[in-house]
Every structure is written in structure tokens, then in C-alpha cells.
Symmetry: C2
Subunit: 402 residues, 2 copies
């Protein structure tokens, strides 16, 4: 098997763990056809009943955002909704990331760029995701455009090597390596859960942020298990352990430590201020409008939905690269996300509707945008429910021991 | 505007005549992305409400045909069916042809290759097409693979020029040129309809075939008008005038005069024998299995559904090229099609169900495959209902005058 086939196999076996008779959906850009082909073949060989691929061309999407009537920008067509229903009905969903031209939309009206999302379908999918009704994964396809952006030249081979390192494709047995890695992340979750933290505090240049944790939640990382008992890895790579904030209890300021690729533009030097959970001020040296527009999507968009901790052992962090792709960059360092609360795996929240979740302090939104706030200069402490302060990360080194 | 944009404009303006507020569907291979992009932009500029593109990767399709469980090969997924419903609900459908790798499926089981069609969706679409419930067109996207096949080298520019000639993109005002051309084809239809033919007879090397015409039908060509009054051109290019046979009255033998690209293989030297309308013998120097498998699709597959006349003035014929794409090759010379009867535009047949149509002599099938039977050596005569024989084509020159 060549590298592409081994990668497709990893996505099928570890990412979504395709089951015999399952329908597999692949959402990708037309630029990712090479990888999608290998995934389709690997999925059928793993017993998939049908592989449905949706290839979106980025210039067609550009034409849509630029030229469609405004009311269509947020519309979910009936046939797309029907596909969403089939996805969440116990299927496997593979999403391929990797934007070969992240600046493609930067000359368009940022308001329209931020708006252009099929809200009904997205809400439906995110709710089912929280409810663990299907297995899913996001994996990246290296493109020359991304390599150009990262290295200043279209060195696709160098990018492939970085991706292979990040997703442990360089291991002799990547499936076994992933099993071990997932177990290590699970141990960190156990350490954090045993501390019964009330909040996590980040301190560094431009940052003094306290994120209140939801007391009913707990820390997760590595693999996820669907309601029908299939263990899958939702992000390839993943290096984080994450928890759901109480969205009403974030206070302070934070400065992003990496650029954020968002809706076709790149946001640089993002700075946010929080009051009683809400983002009340947005600054950036570029792309602030795209963030502001997203925060206007719905009531929950300006509150946090996720907090995640990543240490310096991260395979992504060790590449020393900025990928301009959240899938990688969020695994290089600690991050938070505004928008939808990470509510899966919390038994007490199962089956709750959006209003019940919000009333309980779990955020609900059609948005979920991660951005990086960690790094060697950022200290991370836990604050326990009985008021003790416990160092978690210093100079990106994990401070807890089991 | 560059050539690609002018071509996209022609497809949008003449091919489907996009109306303000209309939804436009584009079905294409991933290889056609460049043209699809230009079409999407042109359609939005013409007032389209939403442009939905379905890009199919040919290797994903290969994996499907090779590896999917057999019962899935003919399945129409629920979300595809929902999309079909939206298409026929007064939308515009643009289908892009042009296979860069026509031999891609030639090593697969020809029975599976022939089977692999979403039958329910296809029947639904073909019925609505006959009923003129949406505007549609098929246009080609030149690819290097097709150029390689045609010229022995990937001379894409030469193929582009041939396509531009065939679709009158070389005219100063292509839209006006198409108006004139469609009027000329309409005049031929008038001539043929006034003759009230009972049958058409083809005679040439390996061919002595009499095709009985349906007495309720008439000849069509050029533009088609939807039930909601939009005039569109269903094939770009089109050079034919066509009619619906009485599927019970074809007799004799016919030898195809051009190769036929079918379901990923190429059929060479096809010879068919008809008895009381049915194809009872299939021979070919290559690809006979693909035809036989298609003829087994359903009851109607082995009966004729179309007869079409093309003279030597054809823009396609004048290029002297075989395009290995029915869209072009059928417009180079006279042809017939087995499968679904061309029943649109006949008022007496509107709203009839499949059983009623068959009982009346109009064929019904999920298949409709054209193949070429005309050329300089093939004489074409009409036989009138009162027994006269009237020359229609000699050495590819149209013999009727108005």
C-alpha cells in the first residue's frame, strides 16, 4: 500500500471505524478527489454498503456567496436535509479539510461570507453529533496551495511528511500507535476529572482569562464511542483533552497565539474580551469582521462551548508549523471555541433540547470555532471547587502526574 | 469574456434559458470543475436563486461499481430522490459530458457496469423530461483525456476548437446563430411531418433496417419548450431531427457506423438484428456484453425509442472527428436509440402512464442509448402511409425541399 492508501485506511479504520453494512458519507472539496477516491475504496473493502461523496468546488462556493440572493445564504435545501437525516441515522461521516486557497473569499463582503451556512442542516447535524448518533472524523488532505502558504513554496512532499508525522502514519503500526495515544489522553482526563476543577485560568502576553467549567461535565480526549458502541476518533490528528465550559462564567481577555483560518479569510492577532461569559469586544489586525459576523449568527455564538488543553509533546506542536487549518493548529496548543457546547458523553445531558441545555449552562449555537491561546509563554492553572490553584501547564509541560 | 465564460453563457442562455428565481442543477464529473465554476457564476448572474452542483469523481464511481454490494448498484438513495424531485419541479438542469478516461471501467464485470444506475431516480427524471416539467441541456467539457483519445495526443486546444465549431461558439453572435439554426431544423421537421411517413428505411453496408414510425408522433428538432413556456436546447450541439418509432415495428439488421462509448467501455462494430421491434441478436468486435447487459435492464430496453436524421451540413460531421461522446457523435450522422421513447411534445401522450404508453406503441424504459447508423454510404428513404418511397438522404445530402 502506498502512503495515500495507508492514510485512507487509517481514516476508515481509526477515524470512523467503518462497520459492515454501514453507509459512509464523505464531505470534501473537489481538490481532495485523490484522497476521497482512496477512502471510497477502503470503505467498501471494510464492508460499507454505500459511499456517498459530496465534492464542493471552492469557486462554485465563491460564486454562491458573492451572487446568490441573500436569503439563500443560510438555506438548507430539502435534498441536503434528507442527506443529513441519513448521515445521523447510524452512518459514518468523513470530513476532509485542507483549503488550497484560504484567501479566496477575502475580497467578498465579510458579512455574507460569515452568513453563508445551511443553518437548519448544521443545527441538525451538530445536535446529532452531541447525541453520538453517528461516527465521524475530520482528516486533512495536503494540497500544494496549503504547502505554498505554509512554506512559501508549493512543497507538497514536505507537507505530506508533516501530516504523516501528525497523524502517526510514520509508525510501523499506526492503528496500534493510535490505540496507545488515545489511552494516554484518557489518563490525562482521569487526572483532571479527579481534581474536580471549577475553572481554568490562562495567563500570558495579552491573556488573563478564567474559563468556568461546567460542574456536570468532565474531561474527554482521544476516542469517542457512539450510542451504538463504535469507538471512533473524531479528529485526525487529536492531541487535546477538552471539556465543556459553563458558558455564563468566562471572564477576562485573551490573545490568540496562532492565525485562524475562518470562512475563507485568515484572522490575525485576534483579541477577545469576555464579560459574564459573553464576548463583548473583538479586535484583530486582520479578519475581525469575519469573527464579528459569525458572532451574530445566533444567541449562543458569542459564548464559549469548549476549552481544550494540549501540551508540548503534541505531534503537531513538535512539527513547529502553523498549518492554517484548525484541525492541526488546535492540536498544537491549548485552545477555546466560541459557539456550540461540547455536550456529548455527558449522560445527564442526553436528550435535552436546546432550551434545556442553555438553561443548564451548556451553550447552544450553529457555530463552533476553535482558536489557539496556548504556547510556551502561557501558564495554565486549574482552580478547584475548594479554591486551590493547581499548575497544569508550565512552558508547555504537563504538570500533573497520576 | 474568455472562451470558457462565453461557453458557460451559451449553456445558461441557450441550453437551459435560466429564468430569474429559478434553481439550477449542474451534474458533472469532478474533472469538469473549471466549466462548472463558470456556469455557476453565469447562472447566478442570469438570476438563478440557487445553483446546486453534483460533482462525481470517476474513481469513486469505479470503486462503487467494483466493490459495492450488488443490490446497491441500482438503488436511488433517499437524498438523491429528493434532489430529483426538486429538479423536475420547474428547475433547470445542466448535464456536463466529456469522459476523460472512457476505458476506466473496461476491466470490471460488464454486467455490474451495465447495472449500475439509480433506477427509481432515473425513471422519475426521464418521465418528467418527457412531460417537459423542467428545462435541461447536455453540454460537453473538453478534457485532455478525450483529446488524447481523439487525436492520439492530449491536444486540448484542438479539441476546444472542434467543440467551439460544433456549438457555434465561433460565430460573432452565438445566440443569434442558434436561433437561426433551430429555425432551419424546425423547417425540416415541417417537411417530414407533411409527408406523413409510415416508416424510414436505412440501406448501406451491413444495414437494411426499416423503422416503423408512430402515427401519433411527429418530427422534432432544435429547441424544446417546457410546460411553463421556456424554450431551451436540450443538446449542445444538436443537428438532428428526431421522431418516436412505434416500438413494435422495427425489422432488419443494422451496423453501427461509429464507436459507441457506453458505461465506461467503448463498443466497436456493433451489429443488431430486430424482429417485430425487439433486438434479438447483438454482435460487436468489442463491448457487446455492455450492450447485452443494458438490454436486460427492463422489458423496454431492447426496443427502439428514437430515430434521428442528420445530414452532411452538420457542424459536428464537418469536423470529420469521432468524439467518443454520444452528444457529438449522434449529431454527426443519422442514429437510432434503444430504450425510452421520445414522447415529449406529443399532446396526445401527455400525462399517460408507462402501461398506457406501451399499449399505444410508445416504448418505456430506464435506458436510452443512441448509436450511429448513418454516413455517406447509407441511403435513407421515407415510406409514406400510402406506400410511396421518398428519398431523404443520399450521400448525406438532404433531398427534401420546402
Amino acid at each position: 500500500m502506498d502512503r495515500l492508501e495507508r492514510y485512507a485506511q487509517l481514516i476508515v479504520d481509526v477515524g470512523v471505524a467503518v462497520q459492515p453494512g454501514q453507509t459512509v458519507f464523505v464531505d470534501a472539496a473537489a481538490d481532495h478527489a485523490e484522497l476521497v477516491r482512496a477512502i471510497a475504496a477502503a470503505a467498501y473493502r471494510a464492508g460499507a454498503r454505500y459511499v456517498d461523496t459530496r465534492l464542493v468546488d471552492r469557486y462554485v462556493r465563491r460564486a454562491f456567496i458573492e451572487l446568490a440572493p441573500e436569503e439563500m445564504l443560510t438555506e438548507t435545501p430539502a435534498w441536503t436535509m434528507e442527506r443529513e437525516k441519513a448521515i445521523v441515522d447510524g452512518s459514518a461521516l468523513i470530513m476532509i479539510s485542507g483549503d488550497p486557497e484560504p484567501d479566496l473569499l477575502s475580497d467578498l463582503d465579510p458579512r455574507r461570507v460569515g452568513m453563508a451556512r445551511p443553518l437548519e442542516g448544521l443545527r441538525y447535524r451538530l445536535a446529532a453529533q452531541s447525541d453520538r448518533r453517528f461516527s465521524w472524523t475530520i482528516a486533512a488532505h495536503p494540497t500544494a496551495g496549503q504547502a505554498e502558504r505554509m512554506f512559501g513554496e508549493p512543497d507538497l512532499e514536505r507537507l505530506w511528511q508533516a501530516v504523516a508525522t501528525a497523524v502517526r502514519l510514520d509508525e510501523p503500526d499506526p492503528v496500534a500507535a493510535w490505540r496507545e495515544h488515545a489511552a494516554r489522553l484518557a489518563r490525562r482526563c482521569t487526572q483532571l476529572n479527579e481534581l474536580a476543577l471549577d475553572a481554568v485560568r490562562f495567563r500570558g502576553p495579552g491573556t488573563d482569562l478564567t474559563v468556568g467549567l461546567h460542574h456536570e461535565g468532565h474531561w474527554h480526549g482521544g476516542a469517542t464511542t457512539t450510542r451504538f458502541g463504535v469507538e471512533h476518533v473524531a479528529n485526525l490528528p487529536t492531541e487535546e483533552v477538552y471539556a465543556c465550559p459553563d458558558f455564563r462564567r468566562t471572564e477576562g481577555t485573551v490573545r490568540s497565539t496562532k492565525p485562524l483560518a475562518l470562512a475563507g479569510t485568515v484572522v490575525h492577532d485576534l483579541e477577545l474580551r469576555f464579560e459574564r461569559g459573553a464576548i463583548v469586544d473583538v479586535r484583530a489586525s486582520a479578519g475581525a469582521e469575519a469573527v464579528r459576523s459569525q458572532l451574530d449568527t445566533d444567541e449562543g455564538a458569542r459564548f464559549l462551548g469548549e476549552i481544550a488543553l494540549v501540551d508540548g509533546e503534541s505531534r503537531v506542536g513538535q512539527t513547529g508549523l502553523t498549518f492554517f487549518d484548525t484541525l492541526f493548529d488546535e492540536n498544537a496548543s491549548c485552545h477555546i471555541a466560541y459557539g456550540l457546547g461540547i455536550s456529548s458523553d455527558v449522560a445527564a445531558w442526553e436528550g435535552l433540547g436546546p432550551d434545556e441545555l442553555r438553561a443548564r449552562g451548556v451553550n447552544v449555537s450553529a457555530v463552533h470555532t476553535d482558536f489557539m491561546i496556548g504556547g510556551p509563554e502561557v501558564d495554565v492553572d486549574g482552580v478547584t471547587r475548594d479554591g486551590r490553584t493547581i499548575p497544569i501547564l508550565r512552558n508547555e509541560v504537563w504538570q500533573l502526574s497520576s
